[in-house]
Amino acid sequence: MADCDNIVFWSPVPAGSIFKIKAAGDKTTFTIVVGRSRNGAPKPVIPFADLVPGPAQQVVNTGDRWAFTPVISLFSAVPQPVTVEAWLEDSAGAPVTLPDDAGAQQPLHCNWSFSAMGGTPLKIFVAA
């Protein structure tokens, strides 16, 4: 599966959906934190310990507008890419889907990979 873009917009998702995110890679060479805000108000960041191996999760309730901002920092170039994975599932663990431009239901699931040194932010908007 190809990596997602660095901006993702998942809306409208069913209330009660659960946003999940995790990262993997050589822990000596990278770190990740996920900034988050709900309806414009900053919330505590999701720390590395919750993301690796993860997943960390956040329930999306009625009226919620979440902005998640993962920042991935690599302190050296790595031969084995650091991977970040984010997705939405319902309370039963089933994938949450939205129709694509052609009307076909697509699971809300993204992967990214990083191997070059530096700091990179992503943006994931999730709204019920």
Partner: protein, 471 residues
């Protein structure tokens, strides 16, 4: 008149595109990417090769001094490539057909990795044994058949501490670094992000790939939506620049942290397989500008234990100090920071005495011993407006080797025995272009015989070095 108006409008839209502002014909995604570059499919596909490519690019343009293959004036080009860069927290058993390797990487305490390795090799008769047996095929077969898995075993123990003072893992520094990164998440950004979500929801946007002038036909509403996307994207761009600069600065100091490494190895062999050998190796590498020296200088302001999680102003001050202390982060910008690597290795191979009376074979192999020590250091002289970077390399090596034939890992034309050899070199390499450098080297040897084609203890060398482009 209408033609002029359309031309003017086209010009304005084109100009807006060039200067990073969005236009109604953009999709929200295209508008976002005017500020934040996209991850392209090509980049994603090439992700596994990026590390090698990045390293290659850095080496291609960096002033790396001269290589040890062409001169005793060794460079510290490869310093800080850790001996234990991988597999420090796992255990494994591997087999390659001729040996079985048991690899165990336990931790002492929280973050102190040690590496224990045992290699059971497929034992073979030594060349001394086969020579002594000559054409006695029956004896050769009998002795080969008598060899067992325990006749050629190597055990090693290596230790390379990883903590806040030693090692180049981000682990011990993660909490502090993550708190600095988190200070980049601002209230203004949260507000801009939420304004954008509200605007997209209000417009009924389900895909970021629909043109804005299709989403909204009213010009005012188009402009409002564009402004929301631009505000959020601009905040993201600012966060990206902040995170990247902080990461690179921190990485520079982290990768200059002192790295001790010690290894003890014992190679047990049956007498007809070869001499048993003991080896001790220790290395110590560090850069002068590292996290330890940074915290030593700015402990009062930037102590990770003192900077409160909620103190964004204090963190901002630390970030400024850290980035300034690290200096530039390009391949030729180590600033005043130099690097040093020390290495000593001692090997002792025991004597072998074989007496196989039933085959009328008796031979002895003398013991061997080697001591090799080296010191290498490199400093980048930062480029100026009128001059490209320069580099100073200092190299000092000492060797004392007796009966090299029985020492593992010593190669070269016989006799490889060396009695008290000291060679020192000092090299200045001036970079003339990205691929062309001019090195000048002074070489000293304690005995003239150790220098090729000269009969003086001190001599000078100079030349041109050209890095071939990637084919």
């Amino acid at each position: 008149m209408r033609t002029k108006f359309i031309a003017a409008l086209t010009f304005l839209l084109t100009a807006a595109s060039l200067f990073g502002q969005c236009v109604p014909s953009d999709t929200p995604r295209e508008c976002w990417h005017r500020f934040v570059p996209a991850i392209t499919p090509a980049q994603v596909a090439a992700a596994p090769d990026q590390a090698a490519a990045a390293a290659q690019n850095v080496v291609a343009v960096a002033n790396t001094g001269v290589t040890s293959q062409v001169s005793p004036a060794a460079s510290t080009l490869q310093d800080f490539l850790s001996f234990l860069s991988a597999s420090l927290d796992s255990s494994s058993v591997t087999s390659n057909g001729t040996s079985v390797t048991f690899d165990w990487n336990p931790h002492i305490g929280k973050d102190q990795p040690i590496k224990i390795e045992a290699v059971i090799a497929d034992a073979q008769l030594s060349s001394a044994a086969t020579t002594a047996l000559g054409t006695n095929a029956a004896a050769l077969t009998t002795l080969k058949d008598s060899l067992s898995n325990t006749d050629d075993v190597t055990g090693s123990l290596t230790y390379s501490p990883v903590n806040a003072t030693f090692g180049r893992s981000i682990g011990p520094h993660r909490a502090f670094f993550d708190s600095l990164i988190a200070s980049g998440f601002t209230v203004a950004q949260a507000k801009a992000d939420d304004d954008l979500i509200v605007a997209l929801q209000a417009a009924g946007v389900k895909s970021l790939d629909t043109r804005i002038d299709v989403i909204k036909t009213d010009l005012t509403e188009q402009k409002t939506l564009l402004n929301k996307i631009e505000a959020s994207a601009a905040a993201q761009k600012q966060l990206g620049a902040f995170a990247d600069k902080l990461t690179r600065s921190f990485a520079k100091l982290l990768n200059n942290q002192p790295q001790p490494y010690a290894s003890l190895q014992y190679h047990e062999r049956r007498d007809i397989v070869g001499p048993s050998e003991t080896a001790i190796k220790a290395t110590y590498e560090f850069g002068f500008v590292n996290l330890n020296t940074f915290f030593g200088k700015y402990r009062a302001i930037c102590d990770p234990l003192l900077v409160a999680q909620s103190d964004d102003a204090g963190k901002a001050k630390c970030i400024d100090l850290l980035e300034a202390y690290a200096g530039g982060t390009g391949p030729d910008e180590s600033g005043t920071g130099g690097r040093v690597a020390l290495s000593v290795e001692y090997r002792d191979a025991q004597a072998v005495h074989v007496n196989l009376t039933q085959y009328n074979v008796k031979y002895d192999v003398a013991s061997g011993r080697s001591f090799v020590g080296s010191l290498t250091a490199g400093w980048i002289i930062a480029p100026s407006a009128t001059r490209r970077s320069g580099r100073i390399d200092l190299s000092l090596s000492y060797e004392n080797i007796r009966n090299a034939a029985v020492i593992t890992g010593i190669t070269g034309p016989p006799p490889a025995d060396v009695n008290d050899r000291l060679i020192a070199s000092l090299t200045y390499t001036q970079k003339l272009s990205d691929t062309l450098s001019f090195p000048v080297t002074l070489v000293y040897a304690n005995h003239p015989a150790f220098l090729s084609n000269v009969d003086r203890k001190l001599n000078a060398r100079f030349g041109l070095q050209y890095k071939l482009p990637k084919i």
